[in-house]
């Protein structure tokens, strides 16, 4: 049986906004297709850092304070994470995790250095950007829905965004872009949590991971997503149509 290993980075620190729902969603959608999902946490107490057998890395969001602690620790593994991403490793990064993948996050009184995996940077804005958000993406007809809550404005330069904002603020409030997709890295501000209500996005990510593990793999079997679609469409209909 095929096995996909999901590494959850610092769930002890970055665990705001129900991000564990993303892990549960990936696990469930793999297992229901007969693919074994192994979820491993990497916490503050772990030592060593090895991504060689990892198929998906997940980084969630935390408070500014917790994010700073994580950042200091993650910088030690900067090269390992960068190599992994450059070699097509799948990374899902949400909110604080998204900001960490950039070059830096400039706060009022200090600048937090990021991993520099994405050529992006974030600056603290005056007002927090809070509310429901709806995106359209080019890899699926299904809209991507979620909830954003960030003080930072992220500038993504020449990177390709995850989607275009149909409702909400997005990366920097102005550009109409949200998130970044780079190789198999998906980074976004969307909570909700992100994946349960966006089954197409979840499967897009899982497909990338499974294909990397098995180049002969073609596509994931369909699942009964009636409830997922209802939850998704409820948000789309309420805010966009």
């Amino acid at each position: 049986m095929m096995k996909i290993k999901i590494l959850h980075l610092y769930p002890d620190l970055l665990n705001l906004y129900g991000d564990k729902g993303n892990i549960e969603c990936m696990r469930s959608r793999l297992e229901r297709r007969g693919i074994e999902a192994q979820v491993v946490s990497y916490t503050c107490e772990d030592t060593g850092f090895d991504l060689s057998d990892v198929d998906i890395v997940f980084i969630g969001g935390g408070s500014d304070r917790e994010q700073k602690i994580v950042c200091g620790r993650l910088l030690e593994h900067k090269n390992a994470i960068k190599d992994y991403a450059e070699n097509g490793g799948v990374i899902v990064a949400v909110c604080g995790g998204y900001q960490l993948l950039g070059k830096y996050y400039r706060l009022e009184d200090e600048t937090i250095e990021g991993l520099g995996i994405l050529d992006i940077y974030t600056e603290q804005g005056k007002k927090r950007l809070i509310g429901n958000i709806v995106l359209e993406a080019d890899f699926t007809d299904e809209k991507i829905v979620g909830f954003e809550n960030h003080g930072g404005r992220t500038y993504i330069g020449d990177h390709k965004p995850l989607g275009r904002v149909l409702y909400g603020f997005g990366n920097d409030e102005k550009s109409g872009a949200e998130g970044v997709v780079y190789k198999n890295v998906v980074a976004t501000y969307l909570h909700g949590p992100l994946l349960p209500k966006n089954p197409a996005l979840c499967d897009h990510i899982l497909t990338a991971a499974v294909k990397r593990a098995d180049p002969d793999f073609t596509e994931l079997a369909p699942l009964d997503d009636e409830l997922e679609k209802k939850a998704n469409e409820y948000i789309v209909n309420r805010f966009v149509k």
């Binding site: 705001l16 304070r65 917790e66 509310g131 809550n149 349960p196």
Partner: protein
């Protein structure tokens, strides 16, 4: 003169509100404040013995109202914002309702529940004598941003009321940090023994608020409440001034405070904290609480605090507003060993928190124990809560947009009891449904 105009306007609005069948808990105050911005300030003038402000994420309405009841039972006249409207406008409305047409009132004490975010604003107008902080949990994140932001807001408030004696939950590191603010006098209450199974639930505040290291626990109660110590900087649970021991969670619930036995008709472990906070505050005020149980007897719980409605079987309505509250409600449901139907209603209006991500931080899966008969989901975000169960591998028997339909269905099953767990804005509509269907409280 402005004050009089404000008072009259407020009184008229209250009457209009009543005629329209509304519970005018904050709008009269809102408009009156536009005419007389310092309306709340006159509490200082007309309250003779003391002002007690209660804030914190969970339990503040219960704690505040219990405090007012206990003081009233001692024969005092008490100003209290009982309906739980806890922003400046809610406090102003309570003042208006107490005032006569000359804009005066007389009270011995003011018991005021104040929303954490509004404490610095309220403290511009009044300086409390005692400030109770019950706990800090993750709550309504889209409004506050993060728990650290709430802590900073409360610190600003504490700085504005330098003479207030703080009554703090000594089991909550996030509360204890306020006792370290400059120049404050703090008293601590806490539960000094392990009572509940040591579950690994979401401990959002388990990092030391002083240095950021992960704290160690000798035991904990729920969330981050317990006997904590930071291994790095030594920040730890302080000596407890009002100490709970000998806890027995039956009916009635029994425990002792500083060796005095209590026996109370309240459900839910968390109510021990609410009761002890009141006991502590009374003592700090210099009021004796010798007949504490007697003082509490007069108290009628606000709606939705494990409130029982009588039908062919009992229907118990419980309000929870955040993950810590829901986990506690679920734990209380689990202590009931009768066959039960459970209805969960989740809304996402401003007062609920528009972000429903928190549903995934609640151990909802624990609701499915051997005594669960049926599970029903409803509310504005019915699909989100249903998905939460789907990914926990728990079957939802009924997904409906209609609370009446949900309750009727459960009344028709052969279960022995129905629990309805709701978040904030689902509370009053649910209460209306239960009353309309003939439930007696």
């Amino acid at each position: 003169m402005r004050k009089l105009l404000a008072v009259w306007l407020g009184k008229i609005l209250t009457v209009i509100g009543k005629l329209a069948g509304k519970k005018s808990s904050s709008s009269p105050g809102h408009y009156a404040l536009k005419i007389c911005p310092d309306l709340v300030g006159c509490i200082e003038k007309y309250v003779s013995k003391g002002i007690i402000v209660t804030c914190g994420t969970n339990g503040k309405t219960t704690t505040n109202n219990l405090m007012a009841s206990a003081l009233e039972a001692k024969g005092y006249k008490v100003l209290c914002n009982r309906l739980g409207a806890n922003m400046l406008s809610g406090v102003a409305t309570a003042v208006l309702q107490e005032m006569n047409i000359f804009g005066r009132f007389k009270a011995d004490y003011a018991c005021l529940e104040v929303d954490e975010a509004y404490t610095p604003i309220v403290f511009e107008h009044i300086k409390p004598d005692v400030m109770v902080i019950t706990n800090l949990f993750r709550d309504q994140l889209d409004r506050y941003g993060e728990i650290d932001i709430t802590s900073d807001i409360i610190k600003r408030a504490v700085a504005k009321a330098p003479n207030a004696k703080l009554v703090l939950n000594g089991d909550d590191p996030l509360c204890v940090q306020f006792g370290r603010c400059e120049g404050v006098t703090a008293y601590y209450y806490g539960i000094s023994e392990q009572v509940l199974p040591q579950l690994d639930d979401t401990k959002e505040g388990r990092f030391c608020p002083v240095c950021g290291a992960e704290q160690h626990y000798n035991f904990y109660h729920y969330s981050q409440l317990g006997d904590f110590r930071c291994p790095d900087c030594g920040f730890a649970r302080p000596p407890i001034d009002f100490e709970v021991k000998n806890v027995s969670l039956g009916t009635p619930m029994k425990f002792s405070i500083n060796g005095k036995d209590m026996s109370v008709n309240y459900k839910g472990f968390y109510n021990i904290y609410n009761l002890t906070a009141v006991y502590a505050a009374l003592n700090v005020l210099g009021e004796t609480a010798d007949d504490f149980a007697g003082l509490l007897a007069a108290y009628k719980p606000q709606i939705g605090r494990m409130e029982e409605y009588a039908f062919n079987k009992p229907v118990i309505l419980s309000l929870s507003k955040n993950p810590a509250g829901f986990n506690q409600a679920i734990a209380t449901v689990n202590t009931d060993k009768r066959q039960k139907d459970v209805i969960i209603a989740i809304n996402d209006k401003a007062n609920d928190g528009r972000d429903v991500s928190w549903l995934w931080d609640v151990d909802f899966d624990k609701i499915a124990d051997e005594n669960l008969n049926t599970l029903t989901t409803t509310g504005i975000r019915v699909y989100d809560i249903s998905l939460r169960f789907k990914y926990a591998g728990i079957n939802v028997d009924k997904i409906t947009h209609d609370m009446t339909d949900a309750v009727k269905t459960c009344l028709a099953t052969d279960s022995e009891v129905v629990y309805v767990l709701v978040n904030y804005t689902a509370l009053y509509p649910t209460e209306a449904v239960l009353k309309k269907l003939g439930g007696r409280t």
